[in-house]
Symmetry: C2
Subunit: 275 residues, 2 copies
């Protein structure tokens, strides 16, 4: 038997340019779009045959932007407002095998390219597998929702400044898409901030995230997220630069290893989380 | 950033001892049971906290018994009776990244051990991840079922010889479980045979598969699978010996690499399927 192996079948091109601003789960933001082009070596003209008759697909992805050196056995999901839960009772990206499982709407297929919506993955995410969503097998009737049942996502009102409302119209014209306002509402209503952001942000500090070709600047005050401007031509600030830097590093690694003909996905040496 | 890495969090102990006889999808056989013990290094006392409130889980597994040297871009699912479909439009185990996605019923958790039902995975399957099934995110309402809609599984009647009926009772007593007859009915009604078996089996050749601690011997004639005997103390025949041999090899590799502190899951050198 040959060594166990995984292969990246393509990298997602998503409207989300960084982790901050990317929805925490799929289908929360129906207007979140992405494309995935299956690499030629996987013969998409054959391997995608028949997929267009499905309305939804599973994407198995590799959480390439994880920067944590260890996996913590308990995590603090935003919905639990400070409470903690075992990592295997969560969908946190910080897991022993950092594989993401995302349900996406399959809008259409053009050649080797899948057009997807309802995406919760950041741009450049390596995709390991596409599987059709088969209701007969993938729906557990009467399933219980565990801790998520009593813990709705923190929800915010979303408002636009007059300048931002103009920016939205300009962006729709420039990008030739509709629904930018709806997209921003769906993203911001989930409250993007982590607990630390929220504490630092008590007095309405301006935050930003990159989407399509613009940066959305917003403030949160008294349960309302107000979009201040959509800026073009800005660069990602320090925190996101780190993520971009990691992506670049990973991408270089990827190139080097691909040149060498393989890409080791190692079972890491056991590290005791929290130790 | 450290190298991408995956880790086996535990190996499934399933009632299915070989690929032949293992259901092709989860939840088809509600009485199919398994246990999964999460390795101590993943601190199950913390990492499983809160999971017991969920009724179902996703298991991400590694298809360790794949013996194919190349991935074919089109596959022939049993439901299509000779027809073919793109591999990404199927749930075939033979994929560029051979990761299985199985929905299982979580019966209970005892310490580090999950008791599962509705399993479609063979004994000793390496499990890479457990995720809670969250209906809110995992159910796509109004999803279309693609080619699977018009292609029901080949279905057989299931019958028991008088000797087999006695063997069932003895097995239930010995194993201290109920429902062995129901389990066998649910397994055999799906028609286990692949097209080659079916052609060779036109005249009612006796076939066998290993389940729990016994071998089920059966024949198929005119749309009815008749269980002839449940045998204990037999050994797997040639075809399954190969699978067992592969498992053993893989297990040795596993041990060697674990001793060396890592387990490379390589992106294989590009191989053009079919070339």
């Amino acid at each position: 038997m040959t060594s166990p192996s995984l292969r990246v079948i393509g990298r997602l091109r998503s409207c989300f340019r960084e982790k901050f601003g990317t929805p925490r789960q799929p289908l929360l933001v129906p207007g979140a779009t992405a494309t995935l082009t299956v690499a030629r070596e996987h013969l998409p003209e054959h391997s995608l045959s028949g997929l267009d008759r499905f309305s939804h697909v599973w994407l198995l992805s590799y959480f390439h932007l994880n920067t944590n050196k260890m996996v913590r056995p308990k995590i603090h999901p935003p919905r639990l407002r400070g409470g903690s839960i075992g990592l295997f009772a969560s969908r946190s990206p910080h897991r022993p095998s950092p594989i993401g499982l995302s349900l996406a709407r399959l809008v259409r297929i053009e050649g080797a390219t899948l057009h997807l919506a309802g995406i919760d993955l950041v741009d450049e995410t390596p995709i390991l597998d596409i599987k059709p969503y088969i209701p007969e097998w993938d729906i557990a009737t009467g399933a219980t929702a565990g801790w998520t049942k009593d813990a709705p996502f923190p929800s915010l009102n979303v408002d636009f400044s007059p300048a931002a409302a103009k920016d939205v119209k300009a962006a729709e014209k420039r990008l030739r898409v509709n629904g930018v306002e709806k997209l921003l509402r769906d993203i911001l209503t989930q409250d993007l901030r982590n607990p630390r952001d929220r504490a630092q942000n008590a007095n309405g500090l301006e935050l930003g995230f990159f989407l399509h070709d613009f940066e959305t600047r917003f403030v949160v005050r008294d349960g309302t997220a107000t979009v201040v401007r959509l800026l073009t031509g800005t660069v990602m600030h320090k925190k996101e630069s780190r993520a971009a830097h990691c992506a670049r590093q990973e991408s270089n690694l990827d190139t080097r290893l691909r040149r060498a003909g393989h890409y080791p996905l190692c079972y890491e040496r056991n590290r005791r989380p929290g130790a």
